[in-house]
Structures are given as C-alpha cells and as structure tokens.
Symmetry: D3
C-alpha cells in the first residue's frame, strides 16, 4: 500500500490503518479485495463523493456506531461538506433511527468541525 | 389532515396512513408535532429532497428494516430518482452494514422500479 | 411441559411453542433453564407484570423485531393493558428508535386489538 | 430556551445540551418541533413519567446505546425510581436483547446510583 | 457468471441471484469485487467452511435478519452441518442477542431441516 | 459464588463481575438461573468451547458491541484460539454486518493479542 492510499484510507475510516497494514501482510488477496470494493463504493458515479459521504455519515449515526460516525465525518471537510449539510442529513437519521442516533452524529460533527 | 397531506404521507411512509389517521383523532397534539417534524426533515434546505430521500433509503436498508426501505423507495420515483442512483446509495449501505443490508434495499428497489 | 406452561409460553412468545417442545426433548436441562429464567423475568416484583409487558412491547418495537412485537402485544390484553397504554409506551420507542420503530409497534397493536 | 427547559432537557438526555442550544439558533423551527415532541412523549398520560422512564432505560439498554442508557438513568432518581426497579426493568432487556444489553444497563445504573 | 458460480451464490445468499445477475451487467467491476470478497470469506483457511457457516448462521440470527438467517441455513445441510450443531450455535446467539434472536434462527432451521 | 466460578465468569464477560456478585445477593434465584444458562451455553456439546467462542466473538462484533467483543476476545487465548482464527471469523462479520463491525472486532483482537 502506498502512502497515498494509506492517507486516503485513514481519512475515510479514521485511525485504524494499522489493522489494514497488517491485513496487507497477512492476507494480501483479501486486502486487495477490500480496497478494491472500497474504491468502487466511493468513486464518483451517478452520485458525487460528497453525496455518498453524507449518506455514510447518516448511516453511521443511524447505526449508533461512534467510531464509524467519527471516521466518516473526519473525511467530510475535505470534500467541501459544511456542518449545516451534515446537520440536515442527520435529521433523516433522527426520523428513521431516533433522537439518540441524531445526538451521536451531531456530537461528532461539532467536535470535528470546531477543530 | 387534508387528503393532500395524507397522500404525501402515504408516499413517504408507505401503507400505514390509518395509524396516523387514528393518531390525529386520539392525540391531535402529538399528531401535529410528528407531522411538523416530518415536514421539517423533508423540506428543501442545504440538501435537496432527492438527496434526503437517497439518505433515507440507505439508512432504512442499513437498519435492515423491510417496511421502511420499501416505504422510502416507494416515494423515490416521484422525486426523479433513478434505479441506478438508488443502487449507488446502497453500495454505501453495503460497506457500512454488510451484504444482506444491501440485498434488502436492492430487492425492494427492483420490485418498485419494475412496476 | 404441562399444557398450562405451554399456553403461558405461547401467550408470551407467540406461535413458536413447537421449538420449545423440541428443546424440552433434545436438551431438557437447557429447556428448564430457559423456562426458569423466563419465569423470573415475568414474576411480579417491584414492577407489575403489566408494567413489564409494556416494557417488552416497547423494546421489541425499538429493535424493529416484527415477531417479538406481535408476540409481546398478543399477551397484553390478558393483562388488562389498553391500546392507549401501548400507544403511549410506543411514543418512547419513537423518541429513542425512530418513526419506523413506532410504526412496527403501532401496526401490530392495531391488528391485535381490533380482533 | 429558558434555563428551566435546559435543565429539564439535560436531565433527560444527559450532557448534550450544547447541541440543542445550537439547534435553537441554527434552526429554531426544528428545535421547537423536537422540544414539543419530547414534551408530548414525557407528559403524564395513561402511563406515569416514572413508568415511561423505566421503558426508556430498558430500550436504551436493549439498543446497546451507552450514551442513551446513561442519560435516561441519570434522570431516574429524580422521579423516585429505585435501583431495584431499574434492575427489574433490565431483566426484560436481558430476555429480549441478551446478556450484554443487560450489562450495559446494569453498569450504568450502578454508577449513577452509587454517587 | 457461469451457472456453477450462480448456483454456489444462490446456495449462500438464497433466492436473490437476479440482483447479482443485474449487478454483473450494470457494473461488472463491482460485481467482480463483491464475488471475489465473498470467495475469500468462505474459502477454507484456519477455519473450515462448516465452522464459518455456523458463524454466519449465528450472526444472521443475532441481527434478527430473517432473510440472511434463512439464506445461511439453506446452505448448511450441503456442508454436512446437523440441526443439533445449528441449535448449539444459536445458544450463543441467545446469550448475546436475546431469546427472540434465538427463535428467528431456530424457526428457520426447523423449516429447512424438516424439508 | 466460589472464586473459581468468579474467575471463569470474569474471563467470559470481562470486567463486570461486581454486577453479578450484587445479583447473587439481591436475587439469588435469578443469579442461579443466569449462571446455569451460561454454563449450558458454553459446555462442550456438538461444538467445542473454542468454536462457540469464535461464534461469540463474531456475533459481538456484528452487533458493534465494544464491551462484549472485548470480553469475548479476552477469553479466547485461554482456549487456544489464535489471532488468525479470530481474524477469519471476523471476515464473516464483515460480509454480514459491514466494514466497521469488522474493525470493532479486529481492533479489540489486536489489543488483546499484543499484550
């Protein structure tokens, strides 16, 4: 894995690259497959990367997954996503997954955007 | 609740309007509050209705909620959303919530879009 | 398992008694343990059976579990629980787990209480 | 938002009032709607506030949501809820959502009630 | 996709091959990536296919996913897995995800193994 | 509860024995029932303890339950389970519950096995 791929992954899934570095050594085939899938998910298509990032943030909050929500939001500013856009995506989370799910997302967003 | 509000709701949450009609009678205040919240979530803001619908479809699939996923996708064609756009949103669901979650969304989408 | 225990179980978990009958044959010890635990959960203590049933209905809806929600609500009328009480318990579900979770509970309640 | 409303909210959802203060500024309409809904959920009705709080604790534990469970239990002593009542509500969580869900609730309850 | 790959997939994920056939046409790259990942997951390694299938059954039940649990169990008899082995795997599901999750798995297992 | 039972439990569910000690005092019957169930789940049967532990690790990760996943993996080395075996079990988690679920399990495994 090149440094560039590494940084790109760190941005997307947060501080877990060591796991994936290990995966590359232990099982290069699985590593390649996961990375390939990841790229196919994020590549621009009918939807922009930005739209897909907002979807990912809203899903991670709906699943009440503190690591995933932080990791997804961490990559959001680089894609030109505003805090207001995230807040609006999280309203859909509120409706479909309840107030605490919204709070997960909102808290992580405040932290990351106030840095 | 006017017929128009009714149809709009049916489109958004699927075949459950009877529940909400009852709610209007039993507890008009709660009904009004829920409807108000619902409208605030869906109104155009930083994100378009279309973008929010795609977020809702992806969340509902990620939660493996067959009713919510069907209800959300049911409203998608009216907003000019293509099957390819839904499929792409569901790839994010795949990554964050696994293959069966993707299959939930994809199966519902095929059914609704092939009508 | 006596017929009485059987009926009591059927009331609590719905149409799955065959599974537990089998369990009694295959593994009487596990069966006894599960039944004992079940009884300890439902026995009157600080909370009444009625209060615990309302908690069970609200949890099952919050987990979006259509079988559990139906099974729990099926036993509710026998405990003197009104539809209005279930509806109010489900509002807590709405707040903590989102609108579709409320709809799961409410739909099952309407069906069972309109019989 | 008055200080009183603020304290009431903090008691219910824990240490996240800043998010809701911001929401009041960014989007006063959504804020009002969420607060209104919240009040309608918690108001005494067929069920008492105490009964609804026990339901909320049990749901939050069943969803394995550490923040929501802590926040809900934080408000419990003020409503005259005993640790034994919470423990009994959490047994329903054990049955419907497994031992780790019970442990989430029980651990938070011990912490808050031993202060 | 050859007929053989098709049958192998149908066995693993149940009656959803049409979705994947479509995926092969719409987006052959994503299709290839998903299939490759799938194969890497199921290939014999430190664990046998049989052990991994039991893990998959237990996870699908723990997630209360009726489609995934049916699909995973459908492939179990071909791998020489007995009903008693599935039942024992599902006890772990009971402990970690509650009685209704166990019931999901057990019901699906009874149906498939009694054919 | 003897010290031995205590240590055995601590190994299985991690640092929560105080809760269960309390349970033994508050409600010895429930305590006995839960312990009995626990033993029946883990006893060797068709599946070995090792196989059941791998199932438990994979479920806990699939449920994104950081406490349960850590607690389950904590007991794994004592049963002769290698990091490679855990990693392979977690691939099934990846497929059925998404990349972040895999990351939960993998991160906990790295921590515990690098001690």
């Amino acid at each position: 894995m090149t440094q560039e791929q590494f940084d790109s992954l760190a941005e997307k899934i947060g501080k877990v690259p060591k796991i994936f570095q290990d995966l590359e050594k232990i099982n290069p085939e699985l590593f390649k497959s996961v990375m390939g899938l990841d790229q196919l998910v994020w590549d621009d298509g009918c939807l922009t990367r930005k739209e897909k990032k907002l979807i990912a943030v809203a899903i991670a909050a709906a699943l009440r997954d503190p690591h995933a929500v932080r990791a997804q939001i961490a990559g959001a500013p680089h894609l030109g996503i505003s805090l207001a856009e995230i807040e609006e995506a999280l309203r859909v989370t509120f409706l479909l997954s309840g107030m605490p799910a919204y709070v997960y997302g909102r808290t992580a967003a405040e932290e990351i955007y106030s840095k």
